[in-house]
Amino acid sequence: MASYFLRRLLMAIPVMFFVALFVFLLLRLTPGDPAQAIAGDHATPAQLAAIRDHLGLDKPIASQFAAWIGNMATGDFGESLISQRPVLEMIGQRIGPTLALAVMAMIFTVVISLPLGVLAAWRHGGMVDRFVMALSVVGFSIPIFVIGYVLIAVFAVDLKWFPVQGYKPLAEGFGPFLHRILLPGLALSFFYIALVSRMTRASMLEVLREDYVRTARAKGLGERIVLFRHALRNAAIPILTVVGTGFAMMVSGVVVTETVFNIPGLGRLVIDGVLARDYPLIQAIILLTAGAYVLINLLIDLSYALSDPRIRYQ
């Protein structure tokens, strides 16, 4: 297991290098000028030239790339061109809200979608099944920002149960933290609830037709044990894959949710970075996101062994 883990980590190095190269070149090919973002719309060409010169933006692209890669090898992700702050510090300020939002959405997803999917498969073709399927169509179809606005209108503006916007870090207390993160987490989870409940249902339907399920029932085991201990565990691999990749895919949904609920997370930071052509910031965020993808995929693979003892990694 350990050698497999190490081998996979080593394989990630070339992946990350090509991601870095691709992102670097893509950003340099995109029209736009960080100097203009610093100096503003009314700046003259002379001011812009002075800023470009100071930032080293007029150096050859190859030398800029070499310098960036070299610095990263020492753990230095560089400074934001716009704010002149270390990008890791900026990411550190923003990663907490995004992780909190993603984790909350994932908790909602797992807690709601797994029972729904199991129930739908158990009552295949019945009212519950149809309800879950209809719910998943709604979840897939409605954009996150619409769900967000509806939740705000109902639970924050009308009922006043929750604040309309904003974020409180966990350090300010669990109550305020939960109070602010519940609605955005729920809004972000809608799509994933639809996805995971459908996947759970499909996977469960397949497993429920297996002989060992019939055997379990013939032995007189209760339906709850049959469903959750025997069937769900064997149906888990595709579900784990979807939950894991869904967690990584949340990046796009996070941007919209953070905007609607005014959460100062990574999604808004990356949009800000793109609009201002803040190269080091965008590069660092994309590289870290790519790293997270690699890591999550590895963890998903490792988790297969936990749900299915037949799987062994060497």
Binding site: P31, A37, D41, P45, L55, S83, V164, N262
Partner: protein, 526 residues
């Protein structure tokens, strides 16, 4: 299940009530600004948000009052009889936020840095023989040749005001940002709580000694009545409005006009203009490329375009925009109706004139590339409407949709369109940044590489702008400004597409919001 639901509901309510309790009794003003604060150096940046930030943290030697007159702020001043020597004496009790006293040598270095970065400042420096600190409290500007705008420029609130900062910061090399926010202004910047693009926090500078005169724009006593001001960036206007209505924020600096009805129905919210000056939308021609290298083609375009149509499209409600010919803003001392013949007449008459002029220009049907910023609400519609009018006049127009950052970069290109150039763009300027020929970048007739994009060339305008700098009286300045404006129309420097007013919204409990050329946070109480 019922028990669990109740438990959850109780937890949420407790969480809510805990959250609602203030941690300590301080007066904090929570504000949604018109743009996120991403950079901090108010000398290097011309962005409005950075300028407003500058006025929080830094102070200026002189302030500008509501009658457009320079007034003492950090310093009293005297002018020699021949108007060639300006002496500034720093008032007592001025200290930087790091506790050190403000010295004249700090101000000398600050003026030099400002002048190196500001177009009008550079113009002033061309007439300056020396700037020296003669003691810790006195600095003297000696002119090499007459220049009548020294006080006006040192008091100007836009686009780059001459903010004073410690010498060690003012000596930062050209092109490098100052990131340490040590000023002597009425608020201190809380660096630890700054999140670029999201949040900026300012606390009252308890060591600040306001002047005794009444507040008037950036002049007079800057009396701070709140403990803290928190700027929050909210990219979604609906979220901002929800936050204002719920009391999470106290003020939205700039509300989208079409959402104002949502707020007007709420008795706890007030709306209005706190920025006394509006912004002028400008359609800029690229004078270096055909067809707008031909004055007749530019005139044809100006006759084809229509101020009211463009304002209707962008703003909608006529109570929030003004139509006037003045290139300096509709309500400033230099405003005049010179060139208004280009804006008068029915749409049909104007279009007929446009067609006639375009024919006379010998236009060969080469496409006009109009840049359209799709991510900037206030400017995304004008190019579409303008393109239709130009097409009706006989131009062939391609509208190129792009984001604002791409447009800003592309507008600096002097290359042909096929190689990344452009023919026409729309932007807007705060009136405080265009209210006279010295600060108005679009009236630069030098055609030089250092001028703002568009590069019109007109020797007479340059002569008049130079004469303006030494004009002794307001009447003389008005005469010169009027002639410059007429030439700007005749030569099609740009199309003045009208002036709109920013509308703010705030909780009714806020008192004494100060009108000014930008949003001011002194005077206001909660």
């Amino acid at each position: 299940m019922t028990f669990r639901f109740k438990t959850f509901g109780a937890a949420a309510l407790i969480a809510g009530s805990v959250h609602a309790m203030p941690a300590f009794a301080e007066t904090a003003l929570n504000v949604v600004m018109q743009a996120p604060l991403r950079t901090l150096d108010p000398i290097l940046s011309t962005a409005q948000i950075v300028r407003t930030h500058g006025f929080m943290v830094f102070d200026t030697l002189l302030g500008m009052d509501a009658k457009y007159n320079p007034q003492p702020q950090m310093a009293e001043y005297s002018v020699s009889a021949d108007k060639m020597t300006y002496t500034f004496a720093l008032r007592d009790g001025l200290t930087w936020h790091d506790g050190t006293p403000v010295k004249a040598e700090d101000c000398v270095a600050s003026i030099k840095r400002w002048a190196a970065n500001d177009g009008a400042g550079r113009t002033m420096m061309a007439s300056v023989a020396s700037i020296e600190a003669t003691s810790d409290k006195v600095l003297v500007i000696k002119l090499a040749k007459p220049f009548g705008q020294v006080l006006e420029l040192l008091a100007k609130p836009s686009p780059v005001p001459p903010f004073m900062m410690p010498k060690r910061l003012a000596e930062t090399p050209a092109g490098k940002q100052v990131t340490e926010m040590v000023g002597s202004g009425p608020f201190r910047f809380v660096a630890e709580q700054y999140r670029p693009g999201d949040q900026a926090v300012y606390v009252k500078n308890k060591d600040y000694k306001p002047r005794s005169e009444p507040m008037s724009w950036t002049a007079g006593g800057k009396v701070v009545n709140v403990d803290k001001v928190v700027w929050k960036a909210m990219p979604d206007m609906q979220t901002s409005i929800n936050a204002l209505q719920s009391g999470d924020v106290d003020l939205i600096e700039q509300v989208t006009i079409d959402l104002l009805p949502l707020l007007k129905a709420n008795d706890e919210i007030k709306t209005g203009a706190i920025n006394a000056l509006g912004s002028q939308v400008t359609g800029r021609f690229n004078h270096r490329l055909p067809p707008f290298d031909n004055p007749k083609a530019r005139q044809a375009a100006m006759y084809a375009l229509d101020q009211d149509q463009l304002m209707q499209t962008a703003i909608g409600d006529s109570q929030y925009y003004k139509l006037c010919a003045s290139v300096y803003g509709c309500d400033v001392p230099l405003a005049s109706d010179a060139g208004s013949e280009y804006l008068k007449g029915s749409a049909k008459e104007r279009m007929a004139k446009a067609k006639e002029l375009l024919k006379a220009s010998g236009y060969d049907g080469a496409p006009v590339l109009m840049m359209q910023p799709t991510d900037l609400t206030i400017l995304s519609t004008q190019p579409i409407v303008a393109a239709e009018r130009l097409r009706e006049a006989g131009f062939k127009v391609d509208v190129a949709a792009m984001d604002w950052a791409t447009l800003q970069s592309r507008k600096n290109s002097t290359q042909p369109v096929a190689q990344g150039g452009w023919n026409m763009l729309f932007t807007y300027w705060g009136v405080a940044g265009i209210w006279n020929p010295t600060v108005h970048a679009l009236l630069d007739g030098s055609g030089s590489e250092t001028a703002w994009s568009g590069w019109p060339r007109n020797a007479r305008v340059e002569e008049l702008r130079a004469a303006y700098l030494t004009a002794p009286t307001l009447d003389e300045q008005k005469k010169l400004a009027r002639e410059i404006q007429q030439i700007a129309f005749d030569e099609g420097f740009y199309f003045n597409a009208g002036e709109f007013q920013s509308v703010a919204a705030w909780r009714a409990k806020l008192k004494n919001l100060q009108p000014g050329p930008l949003t001011l946070f002194w005077g206001v109480s909660k």
